[in-house]
Symmetry: none
Subunit: 197 residues, 4 copies
């Protein structure tokens, strides 16, 4: 139903993301966003009253998309989550460049920081739930709660992304293969223990 010839706010938000990744925070100018979207600066200001507002709407967009991803349920959730993380783990990862850029900008913008924090916590919770289901409520390592497993898995994904972003030589394939292996081993371990009973 989008009218032709009318620049949609959404187009501008997508352009803003691209600019943010292409140019970085420092050179993220509304002029660049406008040019990328093929409109004038005035148009950007018509839709977003300030640069900050546009920024916020970019974050909101990211969070909404993330939310949608998290709410689909699936039996192979953990495996798929790892596969998805792997696919986004690279030297040029648009996703992680954007995410880290927003995190850093969040250090000086409480609203952004909170929103990103909420998404991360939500991810933690969803991972925790799925791991707990996968492992039938029994942690493979005594003294390590499911909550912590969820937090760890999430942390690993972000930590690996950073390493991949910073080093062209980072062994994405090998690392993710062994990460999957590790989780399978943990799963086998819990299954094995149950069998013993």
């Amino acid at each position: 139903m989008a009218k032709p010839n009318i620049v949609q706010k959404n187009d501008l938000i997508q352009s803003a993301k691209a600019c943010l990744v292409e140019k970085g925070i420092e050179r993220f100018t509304l002029r660049a966003v406008a040019e990328m979207a093929g409109v004038t600066q005035g148009t950007v200001y018509y839709h977003f009253r300030t640069k900050e507002q546009l920024f916020l709407e970019v974050v909101k967009d990211i969070c909404d998309r993330s939310w949608d991803d998290l709410t689909r349920t699936d039996d192979n959730f953990i495996q798929e989550a790892i596969a998805s993380a792997k696919s986004r783990c690279s030297y040029d990862s648009f996703y992680h460049k954007l995410f880290l850029t927003l995190i850093v900008s969040g250090f000086h913008h409480e609203q952004i920081r909170e929103q990103l924090g909420e998404i991360l916590m939500k991810e933690n919770r969803v991972l925790t739930d799925h791991l707990s289901r996968l492992w039938r409520e029994e942690s493979p390592v005594e003294g390590v709660s499911f909550e912590t497993w969820g937090i760890m898995l999430n942390a690993i994904v972000d930590g690996l992304a950073i390493q991949a972003l910073l080093s062209k030589d980072f062994p994405v394939e090998k690392t993710y293969e062994e990460l999957e292996h590790f989780f399978k081993a943990m799963t086998a371990h819990t299954a094995g223990e149950e069998e013993k009973e």
Copy 2:
């Protein structure tokens, strides 16, 4: 015996770090650095020919310090590394705010990116070495190489830092306790298996 102007230069670098953390990349201006150091803008230019040069020296400073930390050897290296990581894991962590800020700025500055990448890889290697020594060359989980264990541990530290930076409620204590527990369990596991032999 450091010459006075070297002292000055170092002051400026420390001021630059503080500015970077306090104001963020966007508002990281040479004027702010000068003010914080109690000198004029001209003085900054006397020591660093451009803003970029100052930036690079900040990165170099970070890397040098990191290097120093890594080259001290110690029997309890892993435990101490985790303890140190925990102590820097908070909502207001100067260290991680600075580190992430530099990482993000590295996305558009190859030289910075490479230097930070090298440090991370060096960390991976050192962790790998120490884990391999701790576990007497036997990985606690079959199919997971020591290299990957090192990478993972490093990733976890960064990933947890991000979570702590974004959420006031992040359970730093509990998570690190259980992380230590996990590594102890892994250590016990390898020790146990060896005993069996």
Copy 3:
């Protein structure tokens, strides 16, 4: 029986006046006028082809109202004029804020300047006439013509308004009381002199 669009036009003019007083010339924007009137910018353009046109109609409106005030005749005109002036003489006087704002804008807009000048001259003439009638064609001070008396009275009213606008402590009551006293004394003086003859 006024047509609806004439009502609208008038609403816009009143909103424009309010904006002018509330925000001042510098921030007198058509957007603000539109918002205050509860319409969109486009609507303002439907009624007035340019910002200048709206401005001119505001001036015209002021002048028309002023004209109406002046043309009512009354035996106590002078006394009532002073009373009316006093009532509009305050730190927050909408009337004088608007009037002075328009005067200042008139410095760079000949048409406005002329219209405002004409109103002032008309006021002078009306005051002159009434004083001359009140004083039976005999000036209370030899060598001071009725024309000058009219000009003076008008000048005093504006000059006092400025003082009241700029100082919260300006003694409006006392000053106007003594001003009335002064004119009564002048009136008594002329009456007295006539009696002597």
Copy 4:
């Protein structure tokens, strides 16, 4: 001692005044000020951090000059004050255009408003003092205090200025001649009354 080739703040303030009068508040831009002073916009910002700051310093300058004028004492103060007022009373009066422009801008800037208010009150007081001395503490019209005489005289000067600014035909000469006449008559009146004693 002013260094050559270094644009003095004061030059900029004088340029600002000229711009304000030439272009009016609406078109009073820092670019125009810079051009008039023969420097770049950056220079203006080096000396005054904001447009508002420049504005304030213009007001301060006006007030300081006014203050200096008022503090010189003189036996013929009143006569000279009237002569001075007359000389500044014209259709093109730089002084009054500037003063009124600042007054109007003061409606939305408390600091400016206060400063201008203080100057006016100071003028009132000085006029009051001199009139009281001139008339040997006896008001020429009973019931009209010296304070009110001072206020009135000041109001008349401003009010006449407005009339002159708005009408090319305003009879400056005649009006001021009769105004002087009036004050002389009042003076004679008090002197006469004393003689009677």
